[in-house]
């Protein structure tokens, strides 16, 4: 169909606006990358834009050698990997029975879980529960209270429910029990969805901030989010660095920029591979509500 003049104008404006939106999402990141790779003098004088000025790895070098960022990085990895594994396991353990039509009281259990989405005890009572269980200052306090996200569980449940019923019948005739059905049929058929939900949990654990700040007292157990936040807040104690040559060449901005990049890289590394899955996953979840 031929485009009218009005449509041409519409499409042009549309393309321009979308390009601007996309640029606004990229530029701040490029600015941070440039800052992290620029010489201290250029950073201080405000010369750095989107391209590094007087390229140097110095910020990264001092970040890695002068701060506990590496330790925090591995803490973040530990929190994320174990937490995501646990959350996935228990979410499947919740979603699968609820998706089976013959499961006892499935409606009641679903309602009881949904209720916790719209009404909850809040921070202080939850804190006291965690404290009474003796979980303070251990990663259990990060993993257990957030084990299942009811929202993710509901998405998973409706996905399981919508798998074709005939496969189910056939498997049962072949002598497959409930567990066999779950592991041999349901989970393999749900890979895109499982990847999506694992990504949601993973990002949640990787970015976890408030919980770490509340429950973890031992600074050597901090994850990167809290460590970097502390570095930003405390204006970075330059005295922390033992090597005097470092101090003269350091800028807080450069170090912080480098820390942010270290925190972003793992997300950017997995993001392109998982993007197609989460778009599909969110869409599947949204259609069934």
């Amino acid at each position: 169909m031929r485009r009218t003049r009005g449509e041409q104008v519409f499409y042009m404006i549309n393309y321009v606006l979308l390009t601007l939106v996309a640029i606004s999402c990229i530029l701040p990141l490029l600015n941070i990358v440039a800052l992290s790779l620029s010489d201290a003098r250029a950073v201080v004088s405000g010369k750095v834009g989107l391209w590094p000025v007087d390229f140097t790895w110095f910020s990264y070098h001092s970040l890695l050698t002068g701060t506990p960022i590496l330790n925090a990085f591995w803490n973040s990895v530990e929190i994320t990997l174990i937490g995501t594994g646990l959350s996935m396991a228990v979410t499947i353990m919740a979603a699968y029975p609820l998706s089976r039509r013959h499961f006892y009281n499935r409606r009641f259990f679903t309602m009881a879980m949904v209720f916790t989405m719209i009404f909850n005890g809040g921070l202080i009572p939850t804190y006291l529960v965690v404290q009474n269980l003796g979980l303070v200052n251990s990663y259990g306090a990060l993993w257990l209270p957030g084990l299942v996200s009811t929202y993710n569980m509901l998405i998973m449940r409706s996905y399981f429910e919508n798998l074709p019923g005939e496969v189910d019948e056939a498997a049962r005739i072949d002598g497959c029990g409930e567990l066999g059905l779950l592991f041999r049929i349901v989970l393999p058929l749900s890979k895109p969805l499982l990847a999506t939900i694992a990504l949601f949990y993973g990002v949640g654990y990787w970015n976890s901030f408030m919980n770490v700040m509340i429950y973890i007292n031992d600074t050597s157990k901090y994850n990167m989010t809290v460590l970097v936040q502390n570095m930003i807040m405390s204006n970075l104690n330059v005295q922390d660095f033992t090597d005097p040559t470092m101090i003269s060449n350091l800028t807080p901005e450069g170090i912080r920029a480098a820390a942010v990049i270290v925190m972003v890289i793992p997300i950017l590394a997995v993001y392109p591979f998982l993007q197609k899955y989460f778009v599909k996953g969110v869409m599947l979840g949204s259609i069934k509500g």
Binding site: C25, I26, I124, P125, V148
Partner: protein, 323 residues
Amino acid sequence: MKGELTAGKPRLEPPDSEVRQRIRQQRLRRFKTNIPLILMFLPVILFYLTFRYAPIGGLVMAFKDYNFYDGLWHSPWVGLDHFHTLFSDPRTVEIIRNTLFLSLLSIIVGFPIPIILAIMLNEVRNIAFKRTVQTVVYMPHFFSWVIIAMMIMTVFSLENGIVNRWVEAWTGEPYPFMYNKGSWIAVFVGSGIWKDMGFNAIIFLAALTTIDPSQYEAAQMDGASKLRQIWHVTLPGIRSTIILLLILSMGRVMEVGFDQVYMLQNSNVNEVADVISTYIYRTGLQGAQFSLTTAMGLFESLVAFILIFCANYIARRFNEGLW
């Protein structure tokens, strides 16, 4: 088994007992297939009881004077005292007002944007361009607020932020974006929108794919311009999704994300930037005023709960309710 005791009644005929037998077998089979499911589900029940329902029970603390020695059960009751304290203190009233103001503003300004973005993306015919834009605008959703707060402070920094270098070139003076109340609110709302607009657009994009293309053709035949097509075809097509998400967002009116406020706030803007979640963290956890802040939390949850119900009630009158 019960049937056999009522012997003598004509219902007890051989074919009937056969039926009963079958029913019993079916029940037994149902029970057997349920065993693994129940075993699998037990930890889930345990989780919800411990970490979701126990804290709800812990809300009684709001009506007690909690202290460590007596514990939750033996602390003395104080009735609504804590609520009186909260609502008569101008500081906490201000905090409640800030929370409502920031979240309502975020919803009013932020809610239409993902819809507009989804419609714009939906109109793009060039697949490569569409993919690229999508990939980029989804990305900020996956960054933590530490990263985004850092980007904001860098970009808007007084001394050497890019934005202020433009502002300076334009007006001769840098502008303290993060230290003026008005501009702080703008940065706060804007950053929330910026972080999640792409991701929130996904759901609307999904809803848009269900609209029948022939409707657009018909509208075009009738001479509808592009904007009119969007108004009369696209928007009604995703109406139920829009209402659903609006109801859900009503539940979040009382909560302003802790991370976002905590990382963006500074002492210059506390008057507008202190919200319920930061208050509970500071006064409750750091100041150990458990009962008072639990009362605040309960108030927050209740208002959210009521708002969801009201929004759903209204939506139901248009046949679009959640339940």
